[in-house]
């Protein structure tokens, strides 16, 4: 039996294979270079009123230590993740409580999303202001099941430098 393959059929098959390979290759390159993240990562945005997010309220409380320390820590932890609250109490609370921020009232302003991480958490750039100065502060936030952004922790100055230089 003789099998006849037409010239048009061969060209179509070859062209289709080339296109498939190009799509796969392009996708791989886009994935490796982070192009996909930059294209689709930006689709995840903060709510229209970030100031109302629990993370920002925690930040306001954190940078305005006053009253009884236990109550202040509880107030800060309301807008934090469980893990973030543990870390705050163990490592952050003492320096804050001993700092010159005691008794001061500060305001926190959301500036932008600095980074979206692969687990969906984000790094936000905020700005803290009191009557004397403003200071950029980067925070790590996670979205809960209800869609609210909770504070994990304040990034250390050493970590924030990475985002400042971007």
């Amino acid at each position: 039996m003789e099998i006849t393959i037409s010239r048009n059929s061969t060209v179509r098959t070859f062209t289709f294979a080339i296109i498939i390979l190009a799509v796969i290759g392009g996708g791989y390159i886009a994935w490796k270079t982070g192009l996909l993240d930059s294209l689709f990562g930006q689709t995840q945005t903060v709510s229209a009123a970030p100031a109302n997010e629990p993370a920002m309220k925690s930040m306001t409380a954190m940078y305005s230590p006053s009253g009884e320390r236990a109550e202040w820590e509880t107030q800060v932890c309301i807008g934090m993740t469980e893990k973030g609250c543990e870390l705050f109490r163990a490592m952050f609370a003492n320096p804050f409580w001993k700092s010159s921020l005691i008794g001061k009232t500060t305001s926190i302003t959301f500036i932008k999303i600095a980074d979206t991480l692969e687990d969906g958490s984000q790094v936000w750039k905020t700005e803290i202001a009191d009557s004397e100065a403003t200071l950029p502060v980067y925070i790590h936030v996670t979205q809960n099941d209800a869609g609210q952004w909770l504070l994990n922790r304040v990034l250390f100055a050493q970590e924030a430098a990475k985002y400042e230089n971007q």
Binding site: A90, N94, P95, I128, L155, F156, A157
Partner: protein, 447 residues
């Protein structure tokens, strides 16, 4: 997915780490070896448990440290340690888990490298230079060893960040945040949970997995500073504190050379009162002995030698290597220098020598002037008599019946040259080495 897998392994490592270190010293099935005569002998019992009865508890010291991570607008997180002092004045520092982590990440700034010696607990242990790092401080080296011994690094940390991160901890890099915000959150929370659990249980032991030992002279650089007891000890040991800078050697005298004396002697042997041979029918003459030799040349030089004393306690390296009169262990220390005298002896020979008899000039004048009045025509018969020579190392010889024809005083002269030594040149010598008289018999007619 990549980060999830990475975080899983990070948490796995820390769970393993804390399970291993949980038993602490007393219950550790494999206690660290402790030299009972070393600095740790004051701190740790032979079974590996801490000898708290021998330590003075300085309490928990919490203080800001610029090498700890900094919170924007607030400043660095406090460093926290439990401080003990030993009877010999050493400071034992036990940092909390998180403090230890950042100490090992900034080993120079934090004083981690300034510790004379360290001792860690737990199952994770690896050698890093001359130290054996364990627990959190040893995590980086342990992880490198693990990956280098066959584990597939790309499987554990596909992008290599994890390995780099743990290696950076011990390599002293200050930028240890390559793990990313979410990874560091898990890491720090693990440390905080461990610390919190220990504190909640009222058991501070498990919190401290590492001990750093600082000698008394360094207590000023240890967090919390010097205790009053240490300051008192430092005053008492003040001369021995500065182990690093012993006094400079003295400036010793320059070497010098003392040439050996040249011994020369000429002696009349016989007769006691020789007569000029012209009046002696037997022509007896004189017997004369000559002797010449050289004593050794001496080179004297000085060397600075250290004066070592035993000082109480360990030295800056934590070493004790002597005992005080009261039995307390101590360390040898250079407290000064002495100039010690040394001599070298070089024998020297006579290269050549000759001997002769010479009528003195006074006797010549007497013969030619005064004596010639009584004996007109008096003259000098033979005022110089050569005896002989030698090329031996030393020379002793007697010459018999030397015919002295002229009256008066005769010099026995010995001349020559020494051979020299490796440290001195040859020397010439000469001149009278002895004298004797030769008599003239006179006859006077008296009315």
């Amino acid at each position: 997915m990549k980060h999830s897998r990475r975080l899983f392994f990070i948490l796995f490592i820390f769970v393993s780490l804390f399970l291993d270190i949980a038993p602490g010293f007393a219950q550790d099935g494999n206690p660290p070896f402790v030299d009972p005569n070393g600095a740790w002998g004051e701190v740790v019992n032979p079974d590996g448990s801490i000898n708290y009865a021998n330590l003075t508890d300085g309490g928990v010291v919490t203080q800001p440290a610029d090498w700890m991570p900094s919170i924007p607008g607030v400043g660095p997180v406090d460093a926290e340690y439990h401080v003990y002092t030993t009877p010999s004045g050493n400071t034992i520092l036990m940092p909390t888990a998180s403090t230890l982590f950042f100490m090992s990440a900034n080993p120079n700034e934090s004083g981690f490298n300034a510790a004379a010696t360290t001792l860690g607990t737990g199952g994770l242990s690896t050698a890093e230079g001359n130290n054996t790092l364990t627990g959190i401080a040893g995590l980086g080296a342990w992880f490198a060893e693990l990956t280098g011994s066959g584990a597939d690094t790309s499987t554990i940390f596909p992008d290599g960040n994890g390995e780099q991160f743990f290696n950076q901890v011990l390599s002293g890099e200050t930028d240890i945040y390559s793990l990313g915000p979410e990874g560091l959150l898990n890491f720090l929370t693990s440390l905080a949970n461990q610390s919190g659990a220990d504190l909640a249980n009222g058991d501070g032991l498990n919190l401290y997995t590492y001990m750093l030992l600082y000698p008394p002279g360094q207590c000023g650089t240890v967090p919390g500073g010097c205790t009053p007891e240490q300051l008192a000890l430092l005053q008492a040991l003040l001369p021995s504190i500065d182990d690093a800078t012993p006094p400079a050697p003295n400036s010793c005298p320059s070497p010098f050379i003392t040439p050996g004396s040249i011994i020369r002697a000429g002696t009349l042997i016989d007769p006691n009162y020789p007569l000029v041979v012209g009046q002696d029918p037997d022509k007896r003459g004189v017997d004369v002995s000559v002797n010449v030799s050289v004593r050794p040349t001496i080179r004297t030089y000085y060397t600075p030698e250290p004066i070592v004393e035993c000082k109480a306690g360990a030295n800056a390296g934590g070493v004790t290597n002597c005992s005080m009169p009261n039995g307390q262990s101590g360390h040898e220390k250079v407290v000064g220098w002495d100039c010690v005298e040394h001599t070298e002896t070089y024998p020297e020979c006579i290269s050549y020598a000759s001997a002769s008899l010479k009528l003195t000039s006074e006797s010549k004048d007497w013969i030619l002037n005064e004596l010639s009045i009584h004996y007109p025509g008096a003259y000098l018969h033979h005022p110089n008599i050569s005896m002989g020579s030698s090329q031996d190392c030393s020379w002793t010889e007697t010459f018999d019946h030397l015919q002295t024809a002229d009256p008066g005083n005769w010099d026995i002269t010995i001349s020559g040259q020494t051979s020299g030594t490796p440290v001195s040149e040859p020397r010439n010598f000469g001149g009278a080495a002895g004298q004797f008289g030769v008599w003239l018999k006179e006859i006077a007619i008296i009315k």
